[in-house]
């Protein structure tokens, strides 16, 4: 698990490093990525997310193409499951975004909170189906890694936004 996350964080960081070496990136963004790779050290993310318990009833959906599905608690976009992908898979002919925003979602089936990576799928125009905007723990643009208002395809060769997925990274905290 930890190995996998490290691998993911490394891949992401390398992907970004290829595109930038600015201190702006390292200060605002790199810190959070490092945080993701070190799961127990995420006080800010846990703190901001902990307030988002309210819509628990809605979050009970078990349909991965429903906006209420538990994994989508901070998604903003078209659900890739309606576009030829799935909740964690980009549709054929698109490219995954190497950079991403982060959320923490509560899974009612096992009572656990999970850290989620909300990746965009890129390279084709807006899918247009199953638009879903939820903002549990989402924060404004100055908290970049918790923000879903920017185009996370921005660093792709083709930054056109097509749809969004929600990838389980691991259990939050304990």
């Amino acid at each position: 698990m930890q190995q996998r996350l490290d691998h993911w964080a490394e891949r992401v960081s390398r992907g970004v490093a290829r595109r930038t070496s600015r201190r702006g990136f390292l200060s605002a963004f790199g810190r959070t990525l490092t945080g993701v790779a070190l799961l127990p050290l995420l006080p800010v993310m846990r703190g901001s997310q902990a307030l988002a318990a309210e819509p628990a009833a809605k979050a009970a959906s078990t349909d991965p193409n429903a906006c209420e599905y538990w994994k989508y608690c901070a998604i903003d976009g078209f659900l890739c499951g309606c576009c030829g992908g799935s909740s964690s898979t980009c549709p054929p002919g698109t490219q995954q975004s190497p950079i991403t925003w982060i959320g923490t979602c509560h899974n009612p089936a096992d009572g656990r909170d999970y850290i989620m990576s909300y990746n965009d799928c890129c390279g084709k125009t807006s899918c247009g189906s199953c638009f879903c905007n939820r903002n549990e723990g989402e924060r404004p643009m100055y908290r970049m890694s918790l923000n879903n208002d920017v185009n996370w395809c921005m660093a792709n060769d083709n930054p056109n936004y097509h749809c969004s997925v929600s990838v389980v990274l691991g259990v939050a905290g304990k």
Partner: protein, 381 residues
């Protein structure tokens, strides 16, 4: 925070009390890229004109059995679309602008691999491809080697592209006739304002070797035909505004015209009419013909259908009338039928709802609402 923690504990305690083992946490997921399943005759391509955003037209690939969208191909501004004879390639002729809706115009032919939905090649075209509805404005040659792209500037011609060379190899002037109706290996017919068919024979290099104008086969003034030509076993079938069926045999060097037959009775004629964007479909094996019809007068040829009328195409008689719930789904713009032994009938409505019916019984299977913005045409390779 406390409530959340308590809730989680309770869930675990409940599981433990019930004698269940505490479930392991969900494993980390891997961000993946979906691949397409093997092609199916129940796939259908939905053409979205994106009426309010015409620089962003697209094709959606819908799997009617799985009842899900499989992917999307972006097709730009007023695209023409054709499927290769082997079904493996989608060819798109379209226009792009260097600044979205302005700047330099570039017309291209883009080839997409239908197994990955990725663009595999681009050939730049003369910047005059026809910006019009997506019926017959682009076509593959019989062997899949050439692609013909209708031009309109408003001079009429078509560009010939050689896919092996990935290059434009010629342009054929059509003398005011329009569209590309391919036949045999290297023949292309076009519809003329005199009601005639211009047929040009190309040589292997893609250049014109001969041309022939047919006799008039329909009356442009009295009862024009829709431009939609439906593939038959030997050519194409056209439908007139008043519902007459014009069969055109394109299997020989010169086109031959079958006797015209009427889908409308004397009482219905001129009162019930075909209408919409794509008005007729044919299941070739059974010869079943499907029309979307409405009640209306002259000038209503684009009014959407509220019934599907089914014909035995050999016996020339109607075998069924299937009313559509247009109050719920809006009127029918486009009709298409799959060509397999358990054919599905596809209808696209004005609000871009895709309706799927059993083509043999008319049984309504399901509706997928709002499949795009203004999805008014269907391709079924």
């Amino acid at each position: 925070m406390w409530q959340r923690a308590t809730g989680a504990c309770l869930a675990l305690l409940t599981a433990w009390a019930a004698g269940a083992a505490v479930p392991p946490p969900l494993p980390a997921e891997h961000l993946g890229l979906a691949t397409l399943p093997a092609a199916s005759p129940h796939w259908v391509w939905v053409f979205d004109e994106s009426n309010n955003n015409e620089t962003d037209m697209r094709l959606y690939l819908w799997d009617a059995d799985a009842r899900r969208q499989l992917g999307q191909i972006d097709i730009g501004f007023w695209a023409g679309v054709a499927m290769s004879p082997d079904g493996r390639t989608t060819a798109v002729a379209t226009s792009y602008f260097s600044r979205g809706s302005h700047g330099t115009r570039t017309d291209v032919l883009e080839l997409t691999d239908n197994s990955t939905l990725s663009i595999t090649a681009e050939i730049v075209l003369p910047s005059r491809h026809a910006q019009t509805i997506p019926l017959h404005n682009i076509a593959f040659s019989g062997d899949g080697r050439l692609v013909y792209v209708t031009n309109l500037s408003p001079a009429t011609s078509y560009t010939v592209v050689d896919l092996a060379k990935k290059a434009v190899v010629g342009e054929v002037d059509t003398d005011g006739c329009v569209l590309v109706l391919p036949s045999r290996q290297r023949s292309v017919s076009s519809l003329c304002e005199t009601g005639r068919l211009l047929t040009v024979q190309l040589d292997d290099s893609g250049h014109e070797s001969s041309r022939k104008m047919s006799a008039p086969f329909f009356s442009v003034d009295k009862d024009p035909i829709f431009i939609q030509g439906v593939p038959t076993s030997n050519g194409l079938l056209f439908l007139s505004f008043l519902g007459d069926v014009y069969g055109v045999d394109l299997s020989a060097a010169e086109p031959a015209f079958a006797p015209v037959w009427a889908t409308m009775s004397a009482a219905e004629r001129g009162k019930w009419r075909p209408g919409g964007a794509q008005v007729v479909a044919l299941h070739r094996k059974t010869g079943r013909l499907f029309l979307q019809v409405h009640k209306g007068g002259d000038g209503s040829h684009k009014v959407t259908g509220d019934e599907v009328w089914v014909y035995d195409g050999a016996a020339h008689r109607r075998v069924a009338r299937w009313p559509i719930d247009v109050k719920k789904y809006s009127g029918v713009q486009a009709i298409q039928v799959s060509q397999d032994d358990k054919p599905l009938l596809f209808l696209l409505t004005e609000t871009s709802d895709l309706l799927v019916l059993d083509a043999m019984t008319g049984r309504f299977l399901y509706a997928e609402p709002k499949l795009g913005q203004s999805s008014w045409y269907l391709l079924n390779p």
